[in-house]
């Protein structure tokens, strides 16, 4: 019995060890799953049930100088689906009815992303869903398991003025070439104008939300997580634009191709900047119909071009101001120096004409500016070294950027010796005759209206102005051309005479008001020799009013004929509008 009992104890021990080993195996398995592989399974469980949704940030609002909103946000949505959550229960026919996307399109999206292992990532299937359509889809939530919406930064244009080229439009980012730390592949970004230039201010920061979904892909609620981030709206921008004035200016320009800029020479703020033809930014909200896009792109009038800064023109007689300033500064002539204008000027074998066939007779510099006598400047040009003229032109702001806060500014062209040598190398060289053309702003010279208004600003402020800018709070950066004071005064007087005295070419720009002095210069720039196209018409000048307040203006009308007609008249009306209360 004793032996039997000890044998039993042995059996008990063996069985106990056997059982404990089983327990240990099971326990180890759970330990391995729950402790050692916990992170991996946590992630899997998260993938199962948590969906990360990126919240696009609303863009900053753009205001005019009086804090009137020019551009606001209006929610548009992306319709997205998460391939993993699309099941057999998905009501394809109803979906097709509502958003016009059939099952094969959805299936191909799903299949494409299944293989990439990206089945938990939301895929855009339709952009620019508006609020109404979104509400309808949300009503049928149970038929469309696995669909999500995400807000898009879309704009609404609430102002009366268009401001097309200033504001610019938004577009989907170039999918191949973008900054991956800042953007996602399907982001909407500012593509032109202020929207592009101040993209980093306006953009805002993404938010992230997590949602719990059940096995069938139905959202069960928000997943409260420390990782959730609310989207941060972009910074607002206040423009120096006066939207009322802008509307008036746009209406003035409505029937012409060209541009108008109105600036404050004392701080560089742009009060109005118009370019025509333009296009309606409202039609750029959401998808742009392809035929509309094509017609805009192929339009020979180039509606996408901001003529104030992106198109270059010969400046015509406006450039006589520049030549006068250079000549006076460098004491090349005395102010009283006269030349005789007989209406025609023979230089070697070529005849150059003044716009006035009968000629101006004996004329001094002041009157030559006032009456825009070509012959005077042909003579004057021959006394100046060509390269000096080119260098001084650059000093006065040409052939370089004005640093306006808009993208893609052009610089135009100021020819110099080197340029002429290269250009005419194969055409038999160039002669001084070419230079005569430069004296009156013709030939190879090309400038942008914003450069021209900067010259006027220099004159108005007697040698000092600021970089032009649209952002009201942009730091004023000065731009100085330190010519002698009496140079500027002389030119100002001549410009005053051109507007206010009988026989001045800009007489139509005269404003009959007390304490209002308008200064100006017209320009009539030939587009081509021996063609029927009308010349481009310029008027540029400034007004002094009130307590030494100034505004400058530059008007360019493409093929607008004589500068003394349409633009001078237009300037008068605009100044009268601005100064109606003065």
């Amino acid at each position: 019995m004793q032996i039997n009992y000890s044998k039993k104890i042995l059996h008990k021990r063996i069985l106990l060890i056997f059982y404990f080993i089983l327990c240990a195996i099971v326990l180890y398995n759970y330990f391995s799953l729950q402790i050692m592989q916990n992170e991996k399974f946590n992630q899997k469980a998260g993938n199962n049930s948590i969906r990360k949704i990126i919240l696009n940030a609303p863009r900053g609002i753009i205001y005019d100088r009086n804090k009137l909103p020019l551009v606001d946000n209006k929610p548009l949505y992306d319709l997205k689906l998460i391939p993993h959550d699309i099941t057999d229960g998905f009501n394809y026919s109803l979906f097709n009815e509502i958003v016009n996307i059939d099952s094969t399109a959805i299936d191909s999206i799903i299949n494409l992303n299944k293989e990439a292992g990206a089945s938990f990532k939301p895929i855009i299937i339709k952009r620019y869903i508006d609020f109404n359509l979104k509400s309808i889809l949300e009503e049928y939530k149970l038929d469309f398991k696995g669909i999500y919406f995400s807000e898009l930064p879309a704009r609404t244009y609430i102002s009366d003025c268009y401001l097309t080229h200033v504001l610019g439009y938004l577009r989907q980012i170039d999918e191949k070439n973008y900054n991956k730390t800042l953007y996602k592949a399907d982001d909407i970004i500012g593509f032109s104008g202020i929207e592009k230039y101040y993209e980093n201010y306006l953009r805002g920061d993404y938010g992230v939300d997590y949602y719990l979904v059940d096995r069938l892909g139905i959202i069960q609620g928000k997943y409260e997580s420390d990782l959730s981030i609310s989207p941060l709206q972009g910074d607002s921008i206040i423009l120096s634009i006066d939207s009322e004035l802008q509307s008036f200016v746009e209406n003035s320009l409505d029937n012409y191709s060209g541009s108008i800029i109105i600036m404050n020479p004392d701080n560089g703020q742009i009060l109005s900047l118009a370019s025509n033809p333009d296009y309606d930014l409202k039609s750029f909200i959401g998808p742009i119909p392809i035929n509309q896009w094509k017609s805009l792109i192929n339009n020979p009038k180039k509606p996408f071009t901001n003529r104030a800064i992106q198109e270059t023109y010969p400046p015509g007689s406006i450039f006589k101001l520049l030549l006068s300033a250079i000549a006076l500064e460098h004491n090349i002539i005395a102010t009283q120096k006269t030349y005789v204008c007989s209406g025609i000027y023979n230089f070697h074998n070529t005849s150059f004409r003044c716009w006035k066939k009968e000629g101006h007779g004996e004329i001094d510099l002041s009157n030559a500016i006032k009456e825009s006598c070509n012959i005077y400047f042909y003579n004057l040009m021959q006394n100046i070294d060509f390269n000096q003229w080119a260098e001084e032109s650059e000093k006065l702001g040409f052939n370089k950027k004005t640093h306006i806060d808009l993208p893609n500014e052009q610089i135009g062209n100021i020819p110099n010796r080197k340029y002429m040598n290269e250009t005419y190398k194969d055409r038999g060289g160039w002669s001084k005759g070419h230079l005569l053309n430069f004296s009156i702003g013709q030939g190879e010279i090309s400038v942008t209206p914003i450069q021209v208004i900067q010259l006027i600003n220099l004159i108005a402020n007697e040698g000092k102005t600021y970089y032009p800018h649209l952002n009201l709070f942009e730091r004023n950066q000065s731009y100085i051309a330190n010519y002698k004071n009496n140079v500027w005064k002389f030119i100002k007087n001549a410009m005053y005479a051109a507007v206010n005295h009988n026989g001045g070419t800009a007489y139509k720009a005269k404003v009959n008001k007390k304490n209002v002095k308008v200064y100006g210069k017209t320009g009539t720039a030939q587009v081509c020799s021996n063609c029927d196209d009308k010349p481009h018409a310029w008027f540029s000048g400034f007004v002094e009013y009130g307590n030494n307040q100034k505004l400058s203006i530059c008007i360019l009308i493409e093929n607008g004929g004589k500068g003394s007609n349409i633009p001078a008249d237009m300037s008068k009306k605009i100044f009268e509008y601005i100064l109606k209360d003065v």
């Binding site: 327990c23 759970y30 946590n42 998260g46 719990l212």
Partner: protein, 408 residues
């Protein structure tokens, strides 16, 4: 017939806490989990149903205290016939969940093979006791195989692999406890190893070498050794033949997915994959009661019954699994201590049988939900929701308590 089944005079109601307390722990854990998965405002939800089953189970437990174990010994062979009839009756059962193992009475489900476990242990115990001094080992082993495998084959035919796994798993401890020599137990399980060993031909040769050495060392009669060797070689040769020639490809793939459910992640493997994710994502402290995303977002389709441990792992974490294993160890430890102390051979081996059934149920269930064993429908005792199973467990526990009280 049932005269003498109960003895209210000599047998007293006494709770042996060393066995009862771990079980109460199981019940509490189960109720915590069920209260998380069911709607507590709904009086007909599984939580309240389980409560009433526990109440009913307690009554059964108390009734069991007055059963005379001697009576059970006397009627053991009748129980065997009863067992066969009971399991055989399932061929008339409706197909539920792919197998014919359940009878439905109104809203109640009844699984004959569940109660069959009690009868199985009772009759096998007597059979082992009566033959423990049998000198003719060969005929005894063959007899055991026939007797044991009739009910097991019937259950496999339903098919209910989980239950048959339990039936098989209790044989070895009981045989061992009845005094069968280890070398004979070895001969009994050798063919199974031979079948598995054919998976790799090198391993099979290796296994055959070991098998031969053990045959020589164990000094059996020469013809016994030869027959055994031939049986094992046949198993090894025939199983690849059956696998590749007799089974059709779709049958093969069905067995393969059964053995490796992860190869079919959206079909048969879905539940297991989600279960493993649930367990793994629980971590040490768990996600908290009612916070399991796998459970509450319905990724885990089956929750209250066979996969209740997954929910527990997810919400209560590894710490709850650890506690469960500790309680299980305490339970089996004391059961073994007691059966060692009992002189009555029959009572002792019945105690081993019942405690092994409960123990193996828990182990197999925990292994299944964590992917150690192929998925089979097998609940966790006292934790899973389920009426007939809870009653079966209560009866077994009641008889364990009865034997401990009356035979020490």
């Amino acid at each position: 017939m049932f005269k003498g089944l109960f003895d209210f005079k000599n047998q007293k109601l006494h709770f042996n806490m060393t066995i009862i307390i771990p079980v109460i722990g199981f019940i509490i854990l189960g109720l915590i989990v069920l209260s998380s998965t069911s709607n507590l405002n709904d009086i007909s939800s599984t939580f309240y149903k389980q409560m009433s089953w526990i109440f009913l189970g307690s009554i059964f437990f108390i009734i069991m205290q007055y059963v005379r174990v001697q009576f059970l010994y006397d009627y053991s062979y009748i129980f065997y016939i009863l067992l066969i009839l009971l399991i055989f009756s399932t061929i008339f059962a409706p197909i539920i969940g792919g197998s014919k193992s359940w009878f439905v009475f109104g809203s109640m489900y009844f699984q004959p093979s569940e109660f069959g476990k009690i009868l199985y242990v009772l009759c096998m115990s007597r059979f082992f006791i009566d033959n423990r001094n049998n000198k003719n080992i060969s005929s005894y082993l063959i007899f055991i195989l026939v007797l044991l495998f009739i009910p097991i084959l019937l259950i496999l035919k339903q098919p209910d692999l989980g239950t048959s796994m339990v039936y098989i798993s209790i044989i070895l401890p009981m045989l061992f406890w009845s005094g069968l020599k280890v070398k004979n137990i070895f001969l009994l399980i050798a063919p199974i190893v031979s079948i598995i060993a054919t998976y790799d031909i090198v391993f099979f040769y290796f296994w055959m070498a070991i098998f031969l050495i053990i045959l020589v060392i164990s000094r059996n009669k020469i013809y016994v050794s030869i027959i055994n060797f031939i049986i094992n070689v046949l198993c090894g040769i025939l199983s690849p033949y059956i696998w590749f020639e007799l089974l059709k490809p779709h049958q093969r793939s069905r067995i393969e997915t059964f053995l490796d459910p992860l190869s079919d992640p959206l079909g048969s493997g879905y539940q297991l994959i989600q279960s493993i994710i649930s367990i793994g994502s629980g971590g040490f402290w768990g996600k908290g009661w009612g916070e399991g995303t796998q459970t509450h977002l319905k990724f885990l389709p089956v929750r209250d019954t066979d996969f209740v441990i997954s929910v527990m792992s997810e919400e209560l974490g590894f710490i709850s699994i650890f506690a469960l294993i500790i309680m299980l160890s305490i339970f089996i430890y004391w059961c073994l201590i007691y059966s060692c102390k009992i002189d009555n051979k029959y009572a002792s081996i019945v105690l081993i049988g019942f405690s092994t059934v409960l123990f193996m149920h828990m182990i197999i269930n925990m292994s299944v939900v964590s992917g150690l064993l192929p998925v089979t429908g097998l609940p966790a005792p006292f934790i899973s929701y389920g009426g007939s199973f809870l009653l079966t467990c209560s009866i077994m526990l009641g008889l364990i308590n009865n034997i401990v009280n009356n035979y020490i």
